[in-house]
C-alpha cells in the first residue's frame, strides 16, 4: 500500500491577524467614542387628583385625611416657607421627622396608610418639590432605603395672587 506523504509537512501555517486587529480596533474606537459616564436616575411614583371627581367622592375614597405640606415660593421661585397644617417647619429634616413619627404611630402598615398631599405655589422651583418628596418618602440607612409614605399626591397649584 502506498503511503501518502504530505508535501506540506513541516510548513508553518501563518494566521492572518491583521483583519482581526482592524475590526477589534474599530470596535474599541466605537465603544470609546460612545462611552458616557452618567449618574443613575431614579423614580418617584405619584398620585394626581383625578379629574372630574367631586371632593365628596374623593373624601369617600380616602379613609384618612392626608397630611398636607404647604410649600410657598418667594418672588424668585425659591422656597419661602414650609408648613404642615398650621405648623411652620424649619426645613425638610423637620418634615421628615414628623412624617416618620406619624408613620410609626399608624402601626405596621403605616407606610401604606399615611398619605401626603403637596400643596405648592405655581412658581416654586421643582427641585424643592423633589426635596419634599424625598423627605416624606423614605430615608437611607446604610445601603438600604427604608420606605416611608408611598402615597404622595399634588393639590392644584396656587398661582401668585390667586
Amino acid at each position: 500500500m502506498p503511503k501518502i506523504k504530505s508535501t506540506t509537512e513541516g510548513e508553518k501555517i501563518e494566521l492572518q491577524m491583521t483583519p482581526m486587529i482592524d475590526v477589534v480596533f474599530q470596535l474599541l474606537i466605537f465603544f470609546i467614542l460612545s462611552f458616557k459616564i452618567t449618574t443613575p436616575e431614579g423614580d418617584f411614583n405619584i398620585k394626581m387628583m383625578p379629574l372630574g371627581k367631586s371632593l365628596q367622592t374623593l373624601a369617600d375614597e380616602i379613609p384618612a385625611p392626608p397630611l398636607t405640606v404647604r410649600l410657598e415660593a418667594g418672588s424668585d421661585g425659591q422656597l419661602a416657607s414650609l408648613s404642615m397644617g398650621d405648623r411652620k417647619l424649619k426645613g425638610f429634616d423637620e418634615l421628615h421627622n414628623i412624617v416618620l413619627s406619624r408613620v410609626g404611630d399608624a402601626g405596621p402598615s403605616g407606610a401604606e396608610e399615611v398619605e401626603v398631599e403637596l400643596d405648592c405655589d405655581y412658581d416654586l422651583k421643582y427641585e424643592f418639590v423633589v426635596e419634599a418628596i424625598t423627605a416624606v418618602s423614605g430615608r437611607v440607612q446604610g445601603n438600604a432605603i427604608l420606605p416611608l409614605v408611598q402615597k404622595i399626591k399634588f393639590a392644584s397649584p396656587r398661582k401668585a395672587g390667586g
Binding site: F44, P50, L124, F128
Partner: protein, 133 residues
C-alpha cells in the same frame, strides 16, 4: 502581539459592559433635581413614555420642543396608538423628566394634560438624579 490583543479585548469588554443603551431619552438641556432616594427601578415600566420639561417651560417630546399646551395633540395621538393596539392608556407610564429649575405649576399642568379625558394617562413617575443636595 498576544498581550496587545489580550488587552484590547479586555478594553472592549470593559466598554461593552459599561455602555448604557438606555440613554436615548436623556437630554442635556434637562438638569434633573437631586435626591438621595433616587435609585434605578427594579422592574421595567409598562409602555413608558418620557416627557421632558425644560427650565424655560418647554416640553421636549419626540425630538420636538414645544410649549406645555402644545403637547396635547402629540399625546392624543399616542393614546390613539395605544387604543389601536388594544391597550388601555391607563396602563401606560408617563415619566416626567423636569428640570430642577422648572416651575412646579408647569409640571402639574403637564400632568393635567396627560390626565384629560381625551388622553387618559393615569400612571406618573417623577424622575430625579441620584445624589445629595
Amino acid at each position: 502581539m498576544t498581550p496587545m490583543i489580550d488587552m484590547t479585548f479586555q478594553l472592549i469588554a470593559f466598554f461593552m459592559v459599561l455602555m448604557n443603551f438606555g440613554e436615548g431619552e436623556q437630554d442635556e438641556r434637562i438638569r434633573l433635581p437631586l435626591s438621595q432616594l433616587a435609585k434605578p427601578p427594579d422592574a421595567a415600566n409598562t409602555w413608558p413614555m418620557t416627557l421632558q420639561l425644560t427650565k424655560v417651560g418647554t416640553v421636549l417630546f419626540g425630538g420636538e420642543e414645544m410649549p406645555v399646551a402644545g403637547i396635547r395633540p402629540f399625546l392624543v395621538r399616542e393614546a390613539q396608538v395605544l387604543k389601536r393596539m388594544e391597550r388601555d392608556p391607563k396602563e401606560a407610564t408617563v415619566i416626567i423628566r423636569a428640570d430642577a429649575e422648572a416651575k412646579t405649576g408647569e409640571v402639574q399642568e403637564l400632568i393635567g394634560i396627560c390626565q384629560s379625558r381625551e388622553i387618559g394617562f393615569e400612571k406618573f413617575i417623577l424622575r430625579a438624579k441620584q445624589g445629595q443636595n
